[in-house]
Amino acid sequence: MEPILELVDVRKSYGDFTAVSGVSMAVPPGSIFGLLGPNGAGKTTTIRMIMDIIAPDSGEVRFFGHPRTAKDLGRIGYLPEERGLYRKMTVVDQLLFLAEIRGLKSRDALPEIERWLERFELASWGKKKVEELSKGMQQKVQLIGTVLHKPDILILDEPFSGLDPLNQEMFREFLVESRRQGKSVLFSTHGMELAERMCDHICLISHGRAVLTGELSAIKRRLSGNSYRLVADGDLARLAQVPGVEQVLAQERSAKLLLAPDADGAAVLRQIVQFADVREFRSEEPELEEIFIKAVRDAA
């Protein structure tokens, strides 16, 4: 299927500092795409280049199978990293303005606004000024502002940051529902758990480079042969020194081990039993968090 949004070797430098060095990725239609990476990896810069807020030094942004045009941006709903609303405007006025600026008529937009405020539990806040709202509420208002014009693609920069678990769940449900309606969603986050629950595709950025990209399930399958769950008593701090062990994610009395590609699970286990009382040792699909940490470390 032809990607609905595609980045081809996009680069951006600020003086000596390279913010993004050659990111390529493709968002298939009807999918949720996670742009993952640690702080300062270049996620926001990448999104701003997609949105034509900053121009890439080189590379290309393609929408719907052709190089980006100004008209394409009208089919996108964009939630910037820093939430921006007019503080003195009321919620309804604000949303009406955002709708009108995208070419909607106010008589069409008003019922939509009512519906969305209802859905995000803000119905009684419509007449309030934005500055009277909590941060989480403002974030919901802004999300409504991004979707009023019924965009085909949602591009959300850190949509979950600063939300309580209930609102996070509300946002998640909304994104999953958008996918069901055939829309594509691209969002950035450094919260792996949420990404793992929602994303069909990911692109992992570290130091401005895409270190891992593709379908999440395929990536997991590819790495599953080398991932083990260990439950044991003993000095688990020594696990990292065991030959063949590449990465340890230790928890209370258990650990996730990621082995080197050529390592043998049985040989590793024989080493561990020498200093720990092993109760359980089994092959397990890696969590996104492991993949993330390994990929970032490998890339460094």
Partner: protein, 436 residues
Amino acid sequence: MQLDSIRVVAKREYLQRIKGKGFWIATLIIPLFLVAVTVLPSLLLAKAETRQKVVVVDSTGQAAGELQSALAKPSAPKAAKPDGERGRGGNTSFEPTVEPPGPDRAAQREDLDRRVRAGQIDAWIWVDPAGLAANHVEYHARNVSNFVTQEALRDSLSSAIRRVRLRQAGFDPERIGALTQPVDLDTVKIGKEGSRAEGGLAGFAFAYLLFMMLYMVIAIWGQQVMTGVLEEKGTRIVEVLVASVRPFDLLMGKLIGICCLGLTQIIIWFTTLIVVTAPGIVASIAFLPAGMHKPTVTFVLAINFAIFFVLGFFVFATLYAAIGASFNNVQEAQQVAAFVIFFLIAPLFLMFRIVNDPDSTLAVVASLIPPFTPLLMTLRIALQPPPLWQILLSYVLTLTFIWGMVWLAARIYRTGILMYGKKPTIQEIWRWVRYA
């Protein structure tokens, strides 16, 4: 350029601000402030009319009567003339009493001083033969720095003493009045051309009115353009907006919206002013002295006045917009914004020279420089209509200037969006203009 986007942005600016308290506070406060600085002082001055109790001691035995009657006249003759400057200061009147010279002069003088200090009298005047011969009359008062009072006093005393001397020289007191009658000066001003001198004042008044209106509207709303641009940058609203609106349209919409707001304010002020003062104006026109010209305002002048007001607003508002686009916070921007007012005030200094010679090269060139055009071209049209091509050229130049400034500001805005926390250098701003 998309008219729809401009309209939506302008509508937001206008409605949001007219709903806000700031607009109504400014609309109310400014006329109150103007009244406070113009009307109140003159009211206070009028109230400040004082009657000074003056004791006259005349040891010559000849001047006291004349002095008393000269001082007791309702006001000094000069002050009665319709001469604004003098009239204002001449509000002092005297309440003279004549006291006979006592046997002990020194004791009497001390007693008079005591009475001045005690506040029973305000001043005393001492006339003695030696002094009179040497043209001296003594005036003792607590406050001798009010030269307006002194001048009125000197006039009164001089004329009184003159009468005394004339009488001493044997003139008939009846005839003295007729002989010393001052002449009236009928002033007739000769301008370069008859009509110009009269138009000069009206034109000047017109340009000055435009200046005051522009100054007020720009002082209030020009700053609002700047802070509005800064707000959108600061809160990152602009990131959402640039995906839907071109920066040029965004700025143009903002300027139009805020200009309409300024016009609304002016209309509110003028309507109020007309409603309040119309009866008075009608009445005063009816009672105008025959010789006085009614100020004439031609249709062409009125139209140009309105157009140049709007253009003038845009010229300065675009400068503010460009500054707002270049900086990241109000403090930094305000340092530069102070210079904008310079462009508004500078033509004021040229106005005087242009009134004298509206067709000089200086006048023509200066009135075609866009930031100066609104004031100076209005002035020239009021004085003596310049050739049509000059008026049209000034429109074209001013519109081009506005267009260019919005374009420039939009480019800076577009590129400056992603700069924060750093004061831009001129080189950087120039780079932003070329990029985008």
